[in-house]
Symmetry: D2
Subunit: 314 residues, 4 copies
């Protein structure tokens, strides 16, 4: 029997809620539904024990993890599965790099640190990475802040034989994945793209943050969709009533034989945090396996799960 | 300068209208829009001269091809491009196999015979194939009637070094292509398919034929979408006002992480005959190239353009 | 405090399931959500006691009503509300008119008989109406079988001072209601309708019956949408996985100023049996009130709830 | 034979392009398609002669009106109808109130001044109204700037027996009209609204102006949809490739019987300037008729065509 991964998490938002509830769900039900990789090198999706958690909000710090994940502004639904206390009390996260030692100390016993805080605070992200490196814990950066793209930091993880996975999680099934697949299909079949647009509506705190700081993310999304200039993104629309749902409207206008019109209209509805958890579950296991086998730095097998791996533009 | 392909066509319906209007369109404009393969071995999409055409309807027989393609029930639109008389008078097609010789004679000088009549008359399809074989003309079967899947017939084409391409055209961009790509994407990303449906509405004569003889085609479509039993097809709906447009509504309900729901709704609108012409233009050129290089029988390079190549079930 | 209506029902299908579960739901919760008329002459939606029920299926006959409503092929969901035994055992329904007396006897104590069996059996419908008349019980015909449109029968109800409400329930919110409202809006605003279509998908037993006997209902729907010839209905599509959901795709193509195009695409999703129950609850109360005040025959206040009131074509 | 209305226009944007092209279209074709009121008191939609036009752009001033309407950033399509020179040279519009006299002079011979400039310049709007009043010409304010809601100004028009119609045009068929009708239907049928959203995408200069100054218009739209707080508007999305098309995605989530779900998804596509022209054509005729019959001030018969008539909040 393989040992469970001992996981620490930074950030107790919707994505962490989806992750820890899902781990319990799969453990309780034995279901394999919705899983990209039910097993990786013998590790199932339930072979994960959370051993530490960090958050900033007074609503969450000091609470048991399985209670903290339901505190506002979290709005991922409570799944219909038993969820006893985790036995892990949420600790206060670090505010600046003077606290690296404290966090490193708290990471003792962990194998993987999943960094799942809001994007937009690169110094914080790197301080946690330093703490993980100090503690010999593999680091997974799910945010768009550059950590694994930071060359000298990556070199130090390599040297220390500690895995560093990042940056920026590619959702299991989100707007980008679907839009990209459709544009690729149009091209493969020899149609000529005329125009395309994408409208995204969401209700999570992450989404609200994006609405208030739209530029980076929008640019990154457009890059992902090709630089033809023919794909337009509407401003993101934050609608609290959607809670953890994301809704996207996609339109593609193309031309086929003799320039006759082809139109594709799509409406996608997903739970945003589920898309994140479905990929985090693989990143965590890949990180643990790399650590256990003494491979430091960036493991190539994580590449398809990340939007901005080492070497891409910051 | 490469010689143009000398093409004969059986069937002067919408698909032929789209094909010959498109050839003129690309010749007149130099456009490369909407083309899967602008050139195949030096042959552009306009390097095709129609030298013979066969039809059954009194409205079409005896008329110049460029006039006949606009006769009802054809309803593919008149493209905005100059279309002088073709100089080819539509001949009466064959009724039974006693007329093979007559047709073979009429095919003299042709290199490729594109069989683009309505599906559902396998004897007729094979009679034209015999005529093509007699005349040493490559045969392209775009219908679902078994011709290339007919082993002994295929063997005779091989022996005679005459190409035989078939059966059943896969549209350049139709409901099946799109639905299949979406179901594959769902699977690739690790989601679990819950249910899916497809509704097709169309206004062409071909579509009306399918509505009246739904079983074969529906089964063939379902086969194409996988045998999971989770994909349902609504009865085809013939709506004359749609003319040569086809509209499809697709729905996919899937489950992701922790069995949370993912919904995809799609509306597709295409010109059905354009989807056929965009593939016929490649089949014709592949057939001519094989003939010119002395390769008989089924050319492997046509495989991706056909739904039921030799060896698949009849 | 007003006396509750003593209700008998014929048919223990999805519509009856939605009705009796809903009555319990509103009683348990006090909710007023989704109600067209919370009160009619002092009667709330929970002021109804079922006192008799008739069905044909061996799966239902002999069971308590609150158990029978969950027997297949019923597939309306089990609502999240307490539902103790009804104390009413489902009786076997009548097969022919020789049993009118038996049913009339069983109706003693009831005020209203809701006829909610499958459409398409007019003789059965009228036999139950005879039983109701004999017992002095108001009769509500929710099917498209002609009962209230049967002049001599209506006359006898009038004479006996027994209310007769029918025929054919107009859903609280279904495809027809929505399509009609949109077409009316197009007209009111001065747009000119070009074309319109309607596609209906459903998964109930009622829906399956319609698919197998499409003509009458389709015609009746088209009549409801106006006889312009511009509104097309796709064949109904029975898809069991939809269970009690109905999905409709509507399209309207119109022309505005200078004949420029206006397009409206709609997707509607509803629970079919809820649409029926939401209207039955009003018909039942109207019937009881008319009976209690000694008004026989057809009460004008029911007109907007019925598709084929007395006087319309059979 | 009734005399044609002698019309002056301020603003030579898309709305004016749609108006003057449409007048020519209906005159040339005799079509009655897409018209709310083919005739008003004997005035057909073609019984209008433009006698003066004002614009600010160097691209338009000095050109014949029928040439100026196609200058960028105008992007309403060129209709397929003959459009000889109008014989009206576009004049430079006024910059401030010192030019009222010049404009009043230029209005001599006109009966109606249609103010169709961009919203957001109330001083300019009122200066033109002053000029119209001076010249005895009826004034129609299609912008959201307060003119008819300006009490003392309205009083002076009344006194002078000059009609003043405004403010803010209600489109013949736009997002608000459709959304409002659907919400009203939900309510009429007794469903309970849960949530609703509206996404608008457009490509006109007017739309770009709204995107850059979103607050007022968004508020005004929300007011129009009721103040329940359940209707959300996504930020407007300016997408130049849409040209004069507007696309809206509407969603309505409601609850019916026993709180079961009802979902309505709508996609609307219209030509924005057609929606304006289809109402302007009525306002112009109502203004002329009022003027000819000596009725000054605000004519009640215009009420349904305006969003903010006299008395509503500024």
């Amino acid at each position: 029997m393989i040992d469970s991964v001992r996981l620490a998490v930074v950030g107790v938002g919707n994505n962490t809620s989806a992750l820890v509830q899902g781990i319990a769900f799969y453990r309780n039900t034995g279901s394999l539904v919705g899983l990209h990789r039910p097993e990786i090198a013998g590790l199932g999706v339930s072979d994960i024990d959370v051993v530490a958690a960090f958050a900033m909000s007074d609503r969450k710090v000091g609470k048991d993890l399985h209670e903290a994940i339901f505190m506002p502004p979290n709005n991922f639904p409570r799944l219909d599965t038993e969820l006893p206390p985790a036995g892990v009390t949420v600790r206060r996260g670090l505010v600046d790099s003077t606290e690296v030692e404290r966090v490193a100390h708290a990471l003792e016993g962990a194998e993987v640190l999943l960094y799942s805080a809001p994007s937009g605070r690169p110094d914080t992200a790197r301080a946690y990475a330093e703490a993980a490196l100090t503690a010999g814990v593999a680091f997974v950066n799910t945010t768009s802040d550059p950590v694994a793209r930071h060359e000298s930091l990556l070199a130090r993880f390599e040297e220390a034989r500690v895995p560093l996975l990042g940056d920026d999680l590619a959702s299991q099934f989100g707007t980008s994945v679907l839009h990209h697949a459709l544009l690729r299909l149009i091209e493969e079949r020899g149609l000529t793209l005329g125009s395309s647009y994408q409208v995204n509506l969401g209700g999570t705190e992450d989404f609200r943050n994006l609405v208030e700081n739209p530029n980076t993310k929008k640019q990154s999304k457009l890059n992902a969709l090709g630089s033809s200039g023919k794909v337009q993104m509407a401003p993101l629309a934050y609608m609290p009533h959607l809670r953890s749902h994301k809704i996207a409207h996609l339109n593609i206008e193309a031309q086929g034989w003799a320039e006759t019109a082809v139109s594709v209209e799509v409406r996608l509805q997903v739970h945003d945090p589920s898309g994140a958890a479905g990929v985090n579950i693989d990143l965590i296991r890949l990180a643990a396996i790399a650590l256990r086998s003494g491979r430091g730095g960036y493991p190539a097998e994580a590449a398809s799960l990340l939007k901005s791996p080492p070497g891409t533009a910051i």
